[in-house]
């Protein structure tokens, strides 16, 4: 079966996985830099412990090696959609806090947000290739933070970015698993490639 651009589905999948792995690698590198910038701007201790933040998708997973390809894609997509909303929220808060639209932190946040959005789209493409199609996006956005103190919001932001950095590593691994011609994938054996 050929995908929309005429490439056989298996080749298209492999191509999307390769590009996704590169995108995840770049995203992780930028998130790590963003973490340094964030900690500096917000006056936080880089080794501060942050408890699990409500609404932030947790990258930690048990039995990771036993997940099917579909599970990997769905969990990744749900996570990056959530991060997209969380980063948008952080960007707005940061602009309100500093009363300034353009700061180094703001630009760095915006750049990562763009990559997160691109990665989410990439995952949607992979799911479409599975003929399953991406699930529709949930209407509810991230938890409101108006009731949190400024310090609590800063810590929450730190938790978001740390978890995003973990996800970027996990996503690269997930896509490598997906790219393998594996018995563990939930994808049905591909039909013979079209000439």
């Amino acid at each position: 079966m050929a995908a929309a651009d005429g490439l056989p589905a298996t080749l298209r999948r492999r191509d999307l996985c390769s590009r996704g792995i590169r995108l995840a690698g770049k995203m992780r590198s930028d998130v790590v830099d963003l973490l340094d910038t964030y900690v500096e701007w917000q006056g936080l201790d880089p080794s501060a412990s942050v408890a699990a933040v409500e609404g932030v998708p947790v990258a930690a997973v048990e039995h990771w090696d036993e997940q099917t390809g579909t599970q990997r894609l769905l969990e990744n997509l749900a996570a990056y959609r959530a991060f997209r909303a969380l980063l948008t929220q952080m960007l707005e808060e940061q602009r309100e806090q500093l009363d300034e639209a353009d700061t180094a932190l703001g630009r760095a946040l915006a750049a990562v947000l763009l990559q997160v959005s691109a990665f989410a789209y990439h995952l949607e493409e992979l799911l479409r290739l599975e003929c399953r199609g991406p699930p529709s996006e949930e209407v509810a956005g991230p938890s409101p933070t108006a009731h949190l103190s400024l310090f609590e919001r800063k810590l929450r932001g730190l938790g978001v970015l740390r978890e995003l950095a973990q996800w970027a590593v996990r996503s690269a691994r997930d896509l490598r698993q997906l790219a393998k011609p594996s018995p563990g994938s939930s994808l049905p054996p591909g039909p013979a490639e079209s000439p």
Binding site: G25, A60, E62, R173
Partner: protein, 335 residues
Amino acid sequence: DSHIQYERVGADVTMKCGSMDWDAAVTWTANGTDIDPSHLNGSYLILKNVDLTQSGQYSCYEGSSWRLKYQTYLRVGMPPKEPVLMCRSNNYPKGFYCSWHLPTPTYIPNFFNISVIHGTREMVCEKDAFPKNRCHIRYVQLFSTVKYKVTLTVTNALGKNSTTFTFDEFTIVKPDPPESVVAKPVPNNPRRLEVSWQNPSSWPDPESFPLKFFLRYRPLILDQWQHVELSDGTSHTITDAYAGKEYIIQVAAKDNDIGTWSDWSVAVHATPWTEEPKHLTTEAQITETTSASTSSFMPPPTTKICDKGAVVGSGAVAVCWTAGLVVAAYGVLFI
């Protein structure tokens, strides 16, 4: 009765002769040798400021009957200092191991207890049969931001000490060095060396968790290393080697995304290809060849002139024939 007694280096030790009265006449021995009575206070043995050499078997005998009344094994030692603990994952994502040692010996038996906590979960670190000061844990979760906290407690008869190591899942990932490093010259290339290696066998899944590599090389005669970082593949061709110089080469590995570089691999040595000096045919060689041909003439082989590797096209074939005829003519002259 006999038992073991542990005392700290520098302590003052008093040994009683079992249930004997203070004023009983006794003899003490250390490892079978009589102890000078100046060390006795009544029937008590007094050892001041003990040192390691005073470890041994102490026995007390009743004065007249020489009956053994008391025996103890004195072990002089020290309480443990803070142990040194390290944890590492050389087989990510399967698990990690922790190993430990004491910075200074205690000279008496020590017992180690290790606890590993991840969030609220206590994990079991299974002791390795060898080495004894090591245990390993299987990862239950991957990609967690929750730190691991490992506490090692060491206890002996004279005291106790402990240390704690807290770390993230990613930071302790350090592969073993690459294996089977081979470096070979490249024929007809005096400045190249071909280097190849394999992933460490302890790294369980290089396909999903690929490694990247760092290669360093230098000629033996220089101290400065050249470095090359390679993001994929397990081979590399060095193209800027000094001609004719022996090189030393090593490779290190790191997970593509996380952790730290391995130690350097075992070093290998190689020298780039050099051209062999061409052989010149001397008069003596021609004379020797033709005299050997007089009894049963055979045109001598003309391999050097007509080397197959050097022969290209019919022109060179003609040269071979011509050379053969010339030598045949010489042979005829000497029959």
